[in-house]
Subunit: 476 residues, 2 copies
């Protein structure tokens, strides 16, 4: 049997209790995939005299970061859809319709590499399953909550629809997507030593029929899977639901029994504070994607109201075609800043609160609160070491005010992450990924992206892209 690992010398933020759970001169002991003990280093050394030491001197030691909502294939389209109105139609769609399976898988791997190196240990990925998707997570050694997209959009997708028309939805297509998701869930839920979980993912209340939502809820209850769903994600969605049912999204979900603790509601871009509070009080959880919704919509979603109503909010990086990066340090900072601005109040969303959203509360929102998000005995050993010996995180002060948490939130960028451990296994060492070949992943992404760009350029529809004007004007 391998010796326990004693992680010592670091600044320990356990995220236990109601704050950040700092332990002075603390150490963490890992045996196998679990945390065996956490406490003063001297005690740990007495309890575990026969150990392997992992020196964290000069580092902050934290639970691994939780990214609750991503669309990883879109990493291959990083940076092609910024600064435009009607992002999806005018910038993303001309690219995404040419996304091959190989390109999508290259995007998944690129995104896992990027986020893992920036300290993400749990990946809430939402996409159309492609061969190799779940396997990438199994092989990379990270933790994942995978949600296959379910929609009832008839073959051909949204092409030819006009804004303002009621979308045609197809019962058969939705049924098939549900069946496929259920098969995926049976294959993968609990796989990779329990590192992989599955959720059911209706793309939005406007993208499936009411009967699909009811069927998904029945399956969720039967299988014990959560429902991961975009909710109130745009005025388009609200308009569709008004036309179809005469309700806004929260009202519809309440009506048909989807508002409860099994729901992970993503975005709430268009939800009012009152609607957000209603969803929170139902026990449902929220994912806040600050960077993505800021860039795509110029909106700060009502996470503050959701939290004030007692709800749990996780953070998500969404997708690199909109947000450009998938990095929870980025999301923590933007979340704190955007909410200060929304309320013109510098005390809103202090650093410790957003750090909790990225760790313990994010884990709870995903139904993983008893496994990850805190450093405590019996929890899975998912943790990161952040090197504070960088100019942008120096100096380190312990008293009268400890400056580490504010600096992690407002000054760190993720490149300071030195070590990443998931389930007791070191996946990043000295900043280098051990389970992914970084050069090969980036090279494959480059090849796939170039080929994709050639397909886009050959498609006459690409001439409607908003950013072609910027190209012509020499702005890109």
């Amino acid at each position: 049997m391998t010796k326990p690992i004693l992680i010592h010398g670091g600044h320990l933020f356990t995220m236990q209790g109601s704050g950040v759970g700092y332990i002075e001169d603390g150490a963490v002991v890992v045996t196998g995939s679990e945390i065996a003990a956490v406490g003063p280093e001297t005690d740990m050394r007495l309890q575990f005299p026969n150990h392997q030491a992992l020196d964290a001197t000069g580092c902050a030691v934290l639970p691994g970061l939780i990214d609750a909502h991503m669309h990883t294939p879109l990493a291959i389209l990083r940076g092609v859809a910024q600064d435009v109105a009607h992002w999806m139609q005018k910038a993303l769609a001309p690219y995404s319709r040419h996304l091959s399976r190989d390109a999508a898988l290259a995007g998944v791997k690129l995104n896992v590499l990027e986020a893992l190196r920036a300290g993400t240990t749990t990946f809430g990925d939402y996409t159309n399953p492609i061969p190799g998707w779940a396997e990438t997570y199994a092989d990379a050694g990270v933790r994942a909550v995978l949600t296959p997209t379910i929609n009832a959009l008839p073959p051909g997708g949204m092409a030819g629809w006009l804004l303002g028309d009621l979308y045609p939805l197809d019962k058969e297509t939705g049924d098939q997507a549900i069946d496929k998701a259920v098969r995926f869930g049976r294959d993968w839920h609990g796989a990779a030593d329990g590192r992989i979980q599955v959720m059911l993912g209706p793309q939005g209340a406007d993208m499936v029929l009411r009967e699909h939502l009811l069927e998904i809820k029945r399956i969720a209850e039967r299988e014990g899977w959560m429902i991961h769903m975009h909710v109130a994600q745009g005025d388009r969605e609200m308009e569709q639901l008004q036309m179809r049912y005469g309700h806004r999204t929260p009202e519809l979900l309440a009506d048909i029994g989807l508002l409860d603790a099994q729901l992970l509601a993503v975005h709430l871009t268009e939800a009012s504070d009152v609607e957000a509070a209603r969803i929170a009080r139902s026990g449902a959880h929220m994912v806040l994607c600050s960077g993505s919704i800021g860039i795509i919509d110029g909106v700060v979603p009502p996470a503050q109201a959701f939290r004030e109503a007692g709800g749990l909010v996780a953070l998500g990086s969404d997708q690199a075609s909109g947000n450009n990066c998938n990095n929870i340090f980025n999301e923590m900072k933007l979340t704190a800043l955007f909410n200060k601005i929304r309320y013109r109040d510098p005390t809103r969303m202090p650093a410790w609160e957003v750090l909790r959203m990225a760790t313990v509360e994010g884990a709870q929102a995903l139904g993983l609160g008893d496994r990850v998000g805190r450093l405590a005995p019996g929890m899975q050993a998912d943790l990161i070491l952040v090197d504070l010996g960088q100019p942008n995180l120096s100096p380190v002060l312990a008293s009268p005010v400890r400056n580490i948490v504010p600096n992690l939130v407002y000054a760190a960028s993720g490149h300071e992450v030195r070590t990443v451990m998931v389930a007791g296994r070191i996946l990043v060492d000295d900043g280098e990924a051990l389970t992914l070949n970084a050069d090969a992943v980036m090279q494959e992404a480059q090849v796939q992206a170039r080929e994709l760009a050639v397909r886009v350029a050959k498609d006459p529809d690409h001439r409607q892209m908003a950013l072609l004007d910027a190209m012509r004007a020499g702005q890109l």
Copy 2:
């Protein structure tokens, strides 16, 4: 004579013209401290057959970044003053009053190291001059615009004043500060082969008497120095001016003849769009400190209105006690995002516009537009190479939409800067600073910060600090 340096193989953003001035397969030739030529690589190789090659393959090549407003000594207080109301009084002051000269100088060096490694080549530093301040810039090899603080606050500073009272201002103190600034300017303006410039820095229209402002303006005209001044930086300032003169700041400055192209107006936090436009139309320039004002005040200053009125806006990182980091990549991103949110419009402040603020327009705002901010023959050779071969900047696409500028603004964090050149001299190579000893700088900062924290803890006044509550509650 040393051979010209040919920088080839990179993606060249010259910032010439009205956009980003991209040159495909371009190269830059540097002779001595200047750019000798910019153009297609094949042409450059013909014109300069006898050269040293600097391979920029896989990199973006840009003008060095301009940070127009910093208070570098405060880097020593990074992260001790976040998430509080009355930031200056309730969080910063208990620390800043114990800032020794040694601590301040350690802060300057830490800040120069941090920003230089993140691609800043021109430092607009504003502070009380201490021995070693200007020398740090001369020795580091960077470009600096130094502004010694001028105020008329009587000895003892703000201690004992009540919010709402008219501050006592002292003619003699202000006169002495002006004399000292003029002596500093005569010593340093144009020093270090012209890399150092000096500006006159009244701390604010509320911090000096009207006669001081008039005297400063006379000196500025006589010496040809600009005036670098906090303008409309808080409700406190506006209130003081209303009490003293019956005017808000822009009105007062217009009245006494300070609104013209010689003025660099910092923050405009409390200025209305109309006031911002008025200042812009006068020919004065603005510095926007998005991160700092976002964290400290929860405000997005009226830079958009300033630009729409024809004004030039530079970016500034302000200080690490409020903003936590001094990094122009951070400021570009926050500026683009905050303005999208302010106007609920994703097309506001596109990536190329904020990149112009950080380079060509920032240089123009500082009066350095004929020396830096663009890659063009005759300009100083201040430039950076950003490694695009990082997961968060991959893949690189050239057409139909070039994704590099959006990724530099929305996905880069500054750690991707590989090479920094100022006046033809390489100051950062492969991410390592050559003119500053990073370990020694961080070590000295750590020592000075710890000693400072001990002095703070001994001062009974520190018990009024807002963050002590957060410490007790386990939130830090």
